[in-house]
Symmetry: C2
Subunit: 308 residues, 2 copies
């Protein structure tokens, strides 16, 4: 799927992934009311509102961006009903031709990792019946437990053409607390990057990048530059642009020559654009998805500006 992601970015000339991280306060009144009228102010009501919201956003961005990234926590907080909305969103996005990155950040010992791997990017076996469950194309993972927590995914990467993005350096302010600790003459995130380089060699795609990518926050451009040097053949998933504070200029170190090798996430900057002063004047609440489209087009322009 890493090859398809690269193809799609090139075709659309846009290395953007839209973060589908809905919150009730982002959902326009009419969608919320329709869901609550039908299902009450319940976990199901909230989840149905999320799914409807996501569908309308997906319809408006599917010809502009190659991928969407639902953050599972936003759904999981509503229990199994929320997880159903997460799964329905993945199904809908894929049916519209989008690549789906499940932002799940799981990390566990091997026997447990196998369950996550089978459920999210593999096949679950129910007494001889093989079922695909979550169906993400990529998922994110946490490396703190070491390679035996990653290895159970490798078979699904290679045999089922799936992908991973492993946390190397996250976008949050406190990421330095552990990730930037000095380890034998380098910083921890650099060591993690070197481990990932070795791990990723087992899962190379056809277009020069591994199926095992890295999460590298846009909010630390100096660190990104270091990681890019360690990992020339690793694709970067880059959160932190826009609402978290990183500018297009900050993104430059994440890319290889020719603007290759990275995809930039924006969540509320796109999906809640209609609440932003910049778009409010041109889009009414009912046109929230069109505002998202406009914000996605603006982001594409902003990225193209610095990538040239």
């Amino acid at each position: 799927m890493i090859d398809q992601l690269i193809d799609s970015i090139e075709k659309l000339q846009n290395p953007t992934v839209v973060g589908l991280d809905p919150r009730l306060e982002f959902i326009p009144g009419p969608i919320r009311e329709e869901a609550f009228d039908r299902y009450g102010k319940t976990l199901k009501g909230a989840s149905k509102a999320f799914y409807q919201f996501n569908k309308e956003i997906i319809d408006q961005v599917k010809d502009i961006v190659p991928a969407v990234k639902p953050q599972v926590a936003m759904y999981e907080q509503y229990g199994y009903e929320g997880i159903k909305a997460y799964m329905d969103t993945i199904e809908y996005a894929k049916a519209q031709g989008l690549i789906v990155i499940g932002d799940i950040k799981r990390g566990d010992i091997a026997s447990t990792a196998k369950a996550y791997s089978d459920g999210h990017i593999g096949i679950v076996n129910i007494d001889g019946e093989g079922l695909e469950v979550f169906k993400e194309d990529f998922i994110t993972l946490n490396p703190y437990l070491g390679y035996d927590s990653i290895e159970p995914y490798v078979k699904n990467l290679n045999e089922r053409n799936k992908g991973l993005f492993i946390l190397v350096k996250t976008s949050n302010p406190n990421s330095k607390e552990i990730q930037n600790l000095p380890v034998e003459g380098e910083l921890l995130y650099q060591r993690v990057a070197k481990l990932l380089k070795t791990w990723g060699e087992e899962a190379m795609g056809e277009r020069g990048y591994s199926r095992m990518g890295a999460v590298v926050g846009a909010t630390h451009p100096g660190d990104a530059e270091t990681i890019r040097k360690i990992l020339p053949n690793t694709f970067f998933l880059v959160p932190g642009y826009g609402a978290q504070g990183a500018s297009a200029e900050d993104l430059v170190p994440n890319f290889n020559k020719g603007g290759r090798g990275a995809i930039i996430n924006s969540s509320r900057g796109i999906i809640a654009a209609y609440k932003n002063e910049k778009y409010k004047k041109d889009f009414e609440t009912k046109d929230f998805a069109k505002a998202a489209r406009e914000a996605a087009l603006d982001m594409k322009k902003d990225l193209q500006r610095v990538m040239d």
Copy 2:
């Protein structure tokens, strides 16, 4: 809840938590067949079989152990139906008087962590309706992102009497790869333990232990000894006993004086005891839950032997 956990361990004289990590191959034929006859070999069928299995185990161990620890991955792999079985299991275990540790190992940036916190140990607000969703008493978290990924849980710890166990040193063989890296004269897991010491001071319970505990694998007794010295007032959740290879003797360094300050997990050693040669001769498949009870009593004896 840390105080209640300590009380219950003392009352039962048993620092054991039963890991409810079902797999289809652990579920006795009759339970599987009933679920599949009714719901097919589907995600729902598997999930219903898990719930029935868990209920029977819970009924047999509830007067012996203070707590159960469902591993969410085992349920999550079956999608939203699996998550429903996870939630139903928590509800049932709590109704039987057990304390529930949700082994979720989440870890994400602050805004996302808040969603996990609200959903798992807090209150989710749906347009003015406050709902408890997962209802665990404790959950496990991954520290790789630093304190701003932990802070969103603190309010729920203190205001709602909930608890955390944060990964310090995990039980898997490759845990040393990152967790034992040398950092300024100590090892990374020691630094994480020191961070946890500071973080945990914000959430002290009444009985001398913080509401913010540590996960410390039983498979590395030397490391456990070091961590215990750094964290005298931190409660340890200790996986790795039994099936993962640690003996009762290996557990000793995890405890404070008087056998206090730690709870030991056993999953398949208890829930799948009926498949073990030791119990096979005395228990038929239909008595799988009684075999689990016997295994739980044997574990209690084994722990008491070394704690004296």
